[in-house]
């Protein structure tokens, strides 16, 4: 099985490279290559999530069609690469591969963020890359420290480190945990490390930003979970309070910022900050294996809902408006109205936090959902337009269909059940 998966991954990568090379001659070749590659990538991934990532990557690819950029189709391959890495992380049982996936998803965005019609958007690029490099560095350092604290590799000690009793390991563990979470926060834009988000989201071209706001968010969270869950120790329950506080700060700054922002791109930037806060809040569950799958379900659904929603909204900005009902449906999904996908995401996150008895965080999440209502409705109103036959509306329709998938499969048992099996594989990452 492993051979097949790896072989497939290599085949997909080869196709991507060929597509990228060919696209200098003929631009659609890059698109086709990326499409085939992520289609092959579907086999890498447990079926349902694969579908979601496939769809998200597909609309990312499609939206690039609207951008006559300067790198002539290589952008497709970069998205394909990100999609492959995202799918690969679901089945990866290897610490090194998890970190590699993180880098594979992160680095293509450095190039994508600078895409613009005409010439490279270097100002945005510098801001973004500076923080991403710092973020990746902190994440990787944190991850290495955690593994060290967990296994004792390099210390000459074989005490495989549950940390209990060994104060030094606890300290090292805390350091690793905090560095990893800070790296993650900077990477995805959790307040108070979100400074780059509003600037980049506003100054960049909406299409590449939509990729950064959607596909690029999934792997960092999964990688963080993949590392944090097996390395958790006796002091983890007290240290997860740190993530809970970060999540709360992020929700409030994001929502209040969005509430008082005027520009749609800026509203979406702050909305991303808030959404990353929601997802981060389910990290409090990592110490209770029996509830982890609620957190993973909630976090993933939230990331998917956020991803397709952002794609829809950013494309609407690019296309100067999209069909009103589609905009409202996406807004309702963000608000968390049942039975749209955003509702299920929030529900499972709330469920996992409540199971951990973090009731204050539950209250903050609910309050934040409530205060987010006005700006989403306003956004949908501003971006809404009469029906037109164009690419923007086509992309928005796909985005809405994805948020409606949860309506077709109510209740989302299939999602939960499949997550259970995934969570079981978590324990063997290290």
């Amino acid at each position: 099985m492993a051979v097949t998966v790896n072989t497939l991954a290599i085949v997909a990568l080869v196709i991507l490279v060929l597509g990228a090379a060919g696209s200098f001659k003929f631009r659609p070749l890059g698109f086709i290559g990326a499409l085939i590659a992520i289609f092959i990538g579907l086999a890498l991934c447990p079926f349902y999530y694969g579908i979601f990532i496939f769809l998200i990557a597909l609309v990312n690819l499609l939206s690039l069609v609207a951008l006559q950029d300067i790198i002539k189709g290589v952008d497709y391959c970069l998205v394909g690469l990100m999609a492959l890495a995202t799918m690969y992380i679901f089945t990866s049982h290897d610490f090194a591969m998890v970190l590699a996936a993180l880098v594979l998803v992160s680095v293509p965005t450095y190039i994508l963020v600078m895409l613009r019609e005409g010439k490279a958007n270097t100002e945005v690029g510098i801001k973004y890359i500076t923080f991403m490099v710092l973020a990746t560095l902190m994440f990787l350092t944190g991850a290495l420290i955690l593994v060290y604290a967990h296994t004792g590799i390099g210390s000459g000690s074989t005490a495989a480190g549950a940390g209990a009793g060994a104060g030094g390991f606890s300290y090292i563990y805390a350091l690793g945990y905090v560095l990893l979470v800070l790296g993650l926060s900077l990477e995805v834009g959790v307040a108070p490390l979100h400074e780059w988000v509003p600037d980049v989201f506003t100054a960049g071209d909406p299409i590449p930003i939509s990729i950064i706001a959607s596909l690029a968010k999934i792997v960092p969270f999964l990688a963080a979970m993949w590392i944090l869950i097996p390395t958790s120790t006796a002091i983890t329950p007290s240290i997860v309070m740190f993530t809970a506080v970060l999540a709360a700060i992020s929700m409030f700054s994001g929502n209040i910022g969005a509430l008082t922002a005027r520009e749609p791109a800026r509203v979406l930037a702050y909305s991303t900050v808030a959404n990353m806060g929601y997802v981060l809040s389910c990290f409090v569950v990592i110490v209770k294996p029996e509830y982890v799958f609620y957190a993973v379900v909630g976090g993933l659904l939230m990331l998917f809902a956020n991803g397709v929603g952002k794609i829809g909204f950013f494309n609407a900005i690019k296309g100067e408006g999209a069909f009103s009902p589609l905009m409202y449906l996406l807004a309702f999904s963000f608000i968390g109205m049942p039975p749209l996908m955003g509702f299920w995401g929030k529900l499972y996150i709330l469920f996992s936090i409540a199971k951990m008895e973090y009731f204050w965080l539950v209250a903050i999440l609910v309050i934040n959902s409530a205060i987010s209502i006005p700006y989403y409705i306003r956004l949908a109103g501003e971006l809404g337009a009469p029906w037109r036959m164009n690419l923007t509306n086509f992309i928005c329709i796909i985005a809405v269909m994805v948020t409606l998938l949860t309506v077709l499969f109510v209740p989302v048992d299939w999602f939960v059940n499949n997550i259970v099996s995934i969570v079981h594989t978590l324990g063997v990452v290290l």
Partner: protein
Amino acid sequence: MNEWVVFALLFLSPVVSSIPIVLLYKSRTWTARLPYLSVFGIFISVLMSLYIFFNFPAELPDCRFVSPYTWIPGTGIDIVLITDYLSRYMGVITALIAFFIGLYGLDYMRGDYRPAWYWFFFNLFTASMLLVVYSDNLFLLFVGWEGLGAASWGLIGHWFRDDDEIAYVGVPARKVGPLEFCWPPSFGGWRAISTIRFGDVPMFFAIAAIWLFAGNLNISEIAWGELFMKLGAAGTIILCSMLLMGLFTKSAQVPFSEWLMTAMTGPTTVSALLHSATMVAAGAYVFIKLTWYIQPWTLHSVPGLDVVYLFVLFVGLLSGLYGALVATGMLERKVLLAASTMSSLGLMFGSAAASYWITEPLMSVCGWEVSLAVLVAFWYLAVHAFAKASLFLVSGHLIHATHTRFSVGNLEFSSKMKVTFAITVIATTFLVGMPPFTAYWVKSAMDEVMEHLLHEGMLLPLILLLATSLTYSAILARFTSLNFIKGEKPKHEHLEGGNLMKLGYVLMASVLFILWYLIFVSEETEKFVHAGYVSTSLLVGIAILVAYLGAIYKPRIYSLSAIGTFFNDRMYLPYLNDYIIPRIGFFVAHLVHHYGNRAIDGFFNTKVMPGLFGLISRGIRAIQTGYLARYIRIVLGVVMFILILVSIGGVHLWL
């Protein structure tokens, strides 16, 4: 027959039989015919109640029926019915009175403008009352209890158009201070439901508290003594006071009596069934039932219970005297009877409450030891129900015949209404406690109960009882005299028809003879008969007779008209209901409107929250200057700060 079939027929037949008339409410033909079906439904209830009376067990635990169907799973709240001594008697009384009044109503309500409304609520009322009577579970009882309240509102306000002055209470346009002392039916309905709700809510909480602390809601199963010991003196007093709020408001005890007076704006049948015989008696009935199972005479060691029973004793006796006194000044037929009803209910409460001190003699009834005082209260309830219902039905007929709600009628008039006159004399003399008629024996036992309190150093209860009894006798005699003997000559006389009405009250009053008979033959009422032969009781009986004859001879004393007006104005108690409490309500509304809303508005909408939002949002925006150097400083600053925190924490861990 399966007992659940009997119960189902008992409770459901009145409701089911009144559904057709509701569905066909637009058809004049059908609404004229279908009332017979409604009354037939009540007749089935009568048969079932009699079947229960004769065939169902009366002793615990056989007389408790727990439904095989679980009502509210996991709470212990089930459909539990009981056919003990009180329920079996009260069930027959309720069904029989409802049936007689139903018969009467076929005549009385003929040609009314909304018969469907009337019959539906009338039958719903009957079913609800039967549910209250047979329930052992307090929650189930409360369901019936709320049914009583709803039906009472519907029926008092039956003539909701307020278009006929004959349905009003009080003299139109008569002003006393700022208030107009005249109430139309719609207002009467509102006063009733608002007063009753005021008591029902605390009662509901009391039931919830009982469930919480006793873990059981079956009246006959709860370990009341343990419950009260667990709650302590203060807890017991609070719990009982909340429960009593429901009972006192329902039974119109002071200061909640006003609604009953203006409930007379409803049709007379309603006054007879709800506001004399059954619904208002439900408060007293539930108190008697609770006392029956609480057995307060065995709980003298429980702190606080004596306070509760002393409180009920005096609320009851004072209501008794108040009701009798205000009736002396009244000229409106039904309102006079309403005031006397309130007085009787007070005596029921008073004598049931006296049971706390009456440890001797204890009577063995259906295998259960009860104090004589409780039995007295219950028998007085029974006698009062039939006698007062008869009198109400009579006054309804009189209102039809004379077309006025004020007392008029002389000997010439009464010679044309011989049956009515005779029934009035029977009902009044049988009720006031005149020897040797029915109530005399019950009242004698009541005298004995209050005399017994002398041993406890309480003289006042006996004085209150005697004063009430004498006044009570006088007011019913006054009713008789003003309507048949010494009243003015009626301006209108409408004497035709009314045979079903006559049948109704003749049947009703005839039960008084059966009760008379039962008092002499029943084992448990043996003591009543003994008490009747005691010379002091006889003396009281003779005093009552004298008061009766005196009031017949001189029903109105014009020289005392000032005090009569004071009484007729119910000692200005309407001010409490219509002026003081609304003022308090308006004051609270004013506070909420002007200060509460402003505070809430200020907090959420204009000052605090928006200010906070503005502040945070300015802070968030202030960060975004667009300079990379600044961002790096912030990010690195945050990272460094947290790493320092972790280091401090790490050192702490290390040590």
